[in-house]
Symmetry: D2
Subunit: 339 residues, 4 copies
């Protein structure tokens, strides 16, 4: 079986995770990396015995050995990088968000539709076994019709410093586009409906240093969908207990919670603090398997010439809703979306 | 020690609970009841050996033996009944809500302020040991400044039939006034701040029969407070798993959840359904001790000539915010409150 | 309704709890206390406005106003004090264990059987709502036939100092008689069977100072019952997380756990330690309601002239099995019981 | 990198799992299988494109392409198959137990020690991340010295039928050797001590059909170790709720529980049964990752020429203790072990 040869663009925290996962897959080769920092490139190249390393994305995608590219560059480059990869006939895995600007996204969506290449967007929660289990319960009607969804994505305080450094360099797009986009995607995936109104709030009580960066430490958004579902989101950057991703679905016949407590593992400790469940500390830990599963699905799609169930439209909608949340927060008013 | 003599007005479900609690208190006498249904009166009178029973509230409060009255009549009568009791020099315990109309409430508040009688409003969650424990943690600063509160009050589907019967006879005031008023009080109690904006949504997916009654089966409200706290409420009438009252407080230094699962007791069952925690089935079960505690506090206030910490103003604000939620839901828009 | 007048003998930790519970009961009077320490007597007498206080048990029971006595004296005096109370025609509530010596217990059982007075033994777990709920499930056959029971009673390390002080003054009878006797009673109550073999082990790793007192810090006992149930007990004195009382019942059709985690309340805290459930800290906290319930039942038995379901025989068997555990531990061998 | 070529012997339930895991490993080839049933061989060979398939173990190990063998044959053949593989210079992964007879095990241990080949015994719990996390806490002293361990391995009732079929064909060695051997290994691994006394009990209440097979449906064993640790084991075959593997460690400074409830995933469901956590249904589900991890470690040991931390002596001790439990149960007496 010929190996599928993949290049990873961007060796930040998540780029390194994808590189590692690709390296460990059978019948797959981590053939190239592109990244600005030559020192990092060198270390990664040696660690995984990678044939090629580039300091420019454009240089990498001209490597004719490549079958596919995994784009983990800053969000602002996504649409451009997708387009260039498709132009070179490469299959594309792109981290979320698909882009920051809806017109640019629409343009690249046209490219994607016209292409026969695989396009896979990195909404990894769709490949997390807990989310999949819940989705299957919902689809079987086990909780009836959905009335309410609540979804939290709260980063640990331990990561605040590096976020501040990151946000100083390039805008995150705001907390809704940076973080809630996963929750928005889950809501659309679970309900198969679209958001029509949003009201968002937020503050910087725990991290006043974010004021200067035009960022918020914790934000909420209440979303009303076109099928009469209400959703409530919390996104944050300062959880003292770890990485808290939790989703609740209230249906007419029952309720489901996914990760009601952000357990690290199956261990319970009884000590002077009480009965303690250790907590998941970050996204690489919480979604380790989901990142592997989505990459396997990407490779399967390439090998068996099909498309993943998550689409570029899902990416566009995620960005549009997140942008509406950001706008609602900034204007402090209820916003209606039109697509 | 002379017993404190109390009359209970209204022998519905909650009236019977208060009657039973008063009956069992030491140095307290359940001296009278008033209630429209003579048959019920007779049964209750016999059960507790109650000296007097009346079919009219006005008749009861003229009984000079009484020290105090416990008002559990329909909400629309509360302000009138409070006023009359105070006019007769009686101490007053009144079930929530203090009233349905803010002008009427303001008028009776004046009466209460001018009186030296004890006035106690039945926000029993303030006397629930779990809520008290959380409040104390908050006041000690253990979770820092509050950013977000989430509070659910969802009645079991098993009670839907009797609610429909009840709502056919007299308007409940809507789900926010009927149910969320407890959550609104908790939010004000925990934050010591006032609600300034609300957006409410709701639907009748699980109980379309409520459409005809102008009621909703499940409602949400997002509240913004004047100290930058955002609160999210869910009120419902169709939980398949029991009586679900849950409150979460997200602070800058930690989070608290009260009754994250609505456990009936400390028992866990492992059977063909999985690992099962039996659930609390209704408010008398969940708040049994809280109802006793609040009545003890009422009696202490009478005996030691002081006022409870919960005030008529708390009642007014609860009604005002709940009414704003109802209005927001009906108009489908974001509302700003002015007091 | 004439009040039932009760005298409390012994004002240690548990004596004070019983006194307080009796004081708060309606139609019941805390008429007398007896206790060696005059200073304590004075304080308690004032606090509860108690008519009589004695420094001798024998003096108290001659008070003809008394209907009943609540014996909370050191275990070694129980049989003697029961006998004397019955001789004075008093109803008797006696704390566990009924006695330390089986011949003495058998003698007093004869007295109890020949008397028409109420005799109530303080196995309060039989009046704890969680244990009652489990017992009812078992009796309804919901978990089938019982195969295995596991029951833990572990005191918090915070109480070790006072235990050492106590044990220096008078022998506790060993950890099995002092603590496991509750678990043994639960096992007999749940299974309605008798223990036939025991093997007990223990050590003082966490509290070597107990070696000098001939006590153990943590002990286990494996019991085989005459209906093929195996039970495993843990008793301890050094839990770092609080007061841990937990019971598990494995049946042919399901399993039940009572207090799988020793939760203090319904609050969950998320902080730098992880997801934390605060823990119950001591027996007065964990069994507060059970102590009230058992005293109510004692009073009901007196008033309605019946006997409680827990019997003196239950007390005898509890002591016999606990003594066998102690002996097995000391001899380091498997012991067979004969009754 | 040259692939490591492995042959799998025995294609029962667990053999198929190991085959699948080996197939998916990078730089590893599933080169051969041996199994009595030709039809199964054919299906597996096709599914994974396996070069060779044999109906005889002896034939397979003569294939000179092989580097290693994974033995998942019936327990009675393990020692013989290990020996033959070593004689052919193959690295050996062998499922637990290492053997049924301690003399045979000792003989093969000599072979293993004299060989430079990797020998890896399939105690997969040592490669489960929850058990590893607990072991690391213990080794860091976070719960002090161990006093008590409790460990359960209970198979689901859904698997009883296939166990009965299996046990009719070849003796399982009894429930302690078949199931508790994992718990015994965990106890030895956690405590680094040896068992000196055992007392075992059991019954067939839930599955009387096992009487005819000389098997028990549920068994317990109490073990005393040479460092004053007491362990309590439960092994069963009829859990109505799924596959229940749980381990508790009580130390002088704290307690740990691994899988206190046998959660299938992170989902909680609220429905008419209460608050429900779905349960793990079988060992392939519960230990999926552990089986992969141990095989990775086996391959690493081969590639980097080292031995795994779990040794043949661990296998011998596991079998000896399990056999002592079985003997104690059969004789109904406390047994002392000598090694």
């Amino acid at each position: 079986m010929n190996p599928i040869k993949i290049g990873v663009a961007g060796l930040g925290r998540l780029g390194l995770i994808h590189a590692d996962n690709i390296h460990h897959m059978k019948h797959v080769e981590l053939t190239a990396v592109s990244n600005l920092d030559e020192q990092v490139n060198k270390e990664v190249q040696e660690k995984y015995s990678i044939p090629y390393a580039y300091t420019s994305y454009e240089a990498m995608i001209q490597n004719n050995e490549l079958d596919a590219v995994c784009i983990v560059t800053p969000s602002g480059f996504h649409t451009e990088h997708i387009q260039k990869a498709l132009d070179h006939g490469l299959h594309v895995f792109c981290e979320k968000p698909i882009g920051l600007d809806s017109d640019e996204i629409k343009a690249v969506m046209k490219k994607i539709e016209d292409s026969d290449r695989v396009f896979h967007l990195g909404f990894m929660r769709r490949y997390d076994e807990d989310y999949v289990y819940a989705k299957e319960m919902i689809d079987r009607g086990q909780i009836g019709d959905i009335s309410i969804i609540r979804s939290y994505g709260i980063d640990p305080i331990s990561g605040l410093g590096s976020f501040v450094d990151f946000a100083k360099k390039s805008p995150s797009g705001g907390i809704y586009l940076d973080m809630s986009v996963h929750d928005i995607d889950v809501i659309r995936w679970f309900t198969e409906a679209e958001v029509k109104k949003v009201w968002a709030t937020g503050n910087n009580k725990a991290a006043p240093e974010l004021n200067a960066l035009n960022e918020v430490e914790i934000g909420t958004a209440t979303l009303q969908l076109n099928n009469d579902v209400t959703a409530f989101l919390v996104a944050g950057r300062t959880a003292s207990h770890g990485y808290h991703v939790e989703t609740e679905v209230i249906g007419t016949k029952g309720m489901i919670r996914i990760a009601a407590t952000p357990d690290k593992n199956k261990v319970t400790v009884f000590n002077e603090h009480g009965t303690v469940r250790p907590t998941s500390q970050n996204f690489p830990e919480r979604f380790r398997e989901a990142y592997i599963n989505e990459m396997k699905e990407f490779v399967h799609c390439i090998r068996y010439e099909r498309q993943p169930s998550v689409t570029a439209l899902d990416g566009l909608r995620g960005t549009e809703v997140a942008a509406a949340c950001q706008q609602s927060f900034e204007k402090d008013e209820l916003l209606e979306l039109s697509y």
